[in-house]
């Protein structure tokens, strides 16, 4: 979006000072925390650092990448941020308090990407970025931040929080989808989910979660990203023509992050670098068909050539156990297991079930060296 052609959008954008950051050198990661798997992230904020809203969400790759955002929704978020800016100008103390949770979250492992050890020690990235007219070398991309944070923590044998493997959870991962054409309106609620159990309904306009004003899906992701591993989040929604907001509670059970499915590019990248292959989690319907309902069921997505030659592990192989464990595992769960339990040089046992003609077949186990 270089120069917008939409008059209404242009009018809204004219009321902001717009700055585009094209690389991550020197970026304050506490101030600008966002999902590194995104290709586009927006912060709407005051010059003093107070954040009014975030924008930019995706729930998959390829065709799915634009399901969560639209120009219509973006304009509404911009309008909401302008309204908050006006309120903040009139009452900095009260509005600042309201926005405190939006502005400050969990502290990142390192303050800037340049200080993350695996980037700081890499001669390709530990040099000054030469600017737009320079060569591409030295450009730290958004996705490199979470990948290198985890790699550095693993190398230093430091604890790795669940949120690092499953960052900025999407609302659909806890059972509700937002309308991309609105700022913060629930479009769908999926049955038997954290969201359905809270009482959220389609059409609900989400006003606040955990006390924070919500102006976008990205705002909801921010709240979820900073939630504890077991948490209860107070939700206020406007429902119908009701004058009073309806109050609900999102109950996040212990370990919720590791149980929700997600597509994150960073997990696939980390698995590829560490194991030589990455995976897709089998959809539930297919897992049921193969007798794997509620159990570990993943397709191999890509395999490094030498690994394929050595072990026979190939694309579309069905993995049913990791080190003998057969409990259901998400992409984040698998990455966390490998990073926390498998040091460099150790072996990971991968059990594959042969699928032919859609009937289950015998299993075999290969050993993969962990890098």
């Amino acid at each position: 979006m270089a120069v917008p052609a939409d008059g209404e959008l242009q009018e809204l954008l004219d009321r902001f000072v717009c700055v585009r950051i094209v690389q991550m050198h020197g970026v304050d990661l506490a101030k600008f925390a966002f999902d590194g798997s995104l290709t586009w992230a927006i912060f709407l904020m005051n010059s003093d650092g107070t954040i009014y809203a975030r924008y930019g969400s995706r729930s998959g790759l390829g065709d799915q990448s634009a399901r969560e955002i639209s120009l219509a929704g973006f304009k509404k978020t911009l309008a909401g941020a302008l309204a908050l800016h006006a309120r903040y100008a009139n009452d900095k103390q009260a509005v600042g308090k309201l926005l405190a949770g939006k502005t400050k979250g969990v502290r990142p492992p390192w303050p800037t990407p340049d200080e993350i050890p695996t980037l700081a020690s890499n001669p390709r990235f530990n040099q000054p970025f030469l600017g737009l007219a320079g060569r591409h070398n030295g450009c730290i991309h958004c996705h490199m931040v979470p990948v290198n944070e985890l790699q550095s923590l693993r190398a230093a044998k430091k604890p790795m929080a669940d949120r690092l493997f499953s960052p900025f959870p999407m609302p659909n991962q806890i059972g509700f989808r937002m309308d991309p054409d609105q700022a913060a309106t629930v479009l769908r609620v999926f049955g038997d989910s954290i969201a359905s159990r809270s009482g959220l309904k389609p059409g609900d306009r989400v006003l606040r979660i955990d006390g924070q004003p919500i102006l976008s899906t990205a705002d909801i992701q921010w709240v979820l990203h900073n939630a504890d591993d077991a948490d209860e989040l107070a939700v206020e929604v406007a429902r119908g023509d009701g004058a009073e907001p309806t109050r609900l509670t999102l109950e996040l059970p212990d370990g919720w992050r590791m149980r929700i499915g997600e597509w994150r590019f960073i997990n696939k990248s980390l698995l590829m670098q560490t194991l030589g292959f990455n995976v897709n989690v089998m959809p539930p319907r297919q897992a049921r068909r193969y007798g794997l309902a509620g159990k570990l069921a993943m397709f191999v997505d890509r395999t490094r050539r030498d690994l394929r030659k050595k072990t026979g592990l190939g694309n579309r192989d069905v993995i049913v156990a990791i080190d003998g464990k057969r409990d259901r595992m998400t992409l984040a769960g698998l990455t966390a297991y490998v990073f926390r339990n498998k040091p460099k040089g150790s072996k990971l046992k991968v059990t594959i079930m042969e699928i032919r003609d859609r009937f289950p077949r015998p299993e075999s186990t290969v050993e993969v060296e962990v890098r």
Binding site: V17, V19, A41, I42, M45, L132
Partner: protein, 77 residues
Amino acid sequence: MTTPLPILALAAAAVLVAPVCEPASQDRAKTQDRAIAKRERLRDNAADFWIYDDLYKAEELASKNGKPLLVSFRCVP
């Protein structure tokens, strides 16, 4: 003695293919030059609207004129 057909075919192919088979390093440099030119074109086209890669300048301007900031993280593809 006439040249065998396969050898003629190979020679013809070599003549056609040779101009496009430049050394890999020259390819990389040309790709980077095109990427730089593209970035500069994008920056110049949007110069009136966007501040590029200078958060301090943006914060200063926003503080001066009382406007909020829109900070976009988006690399130049």
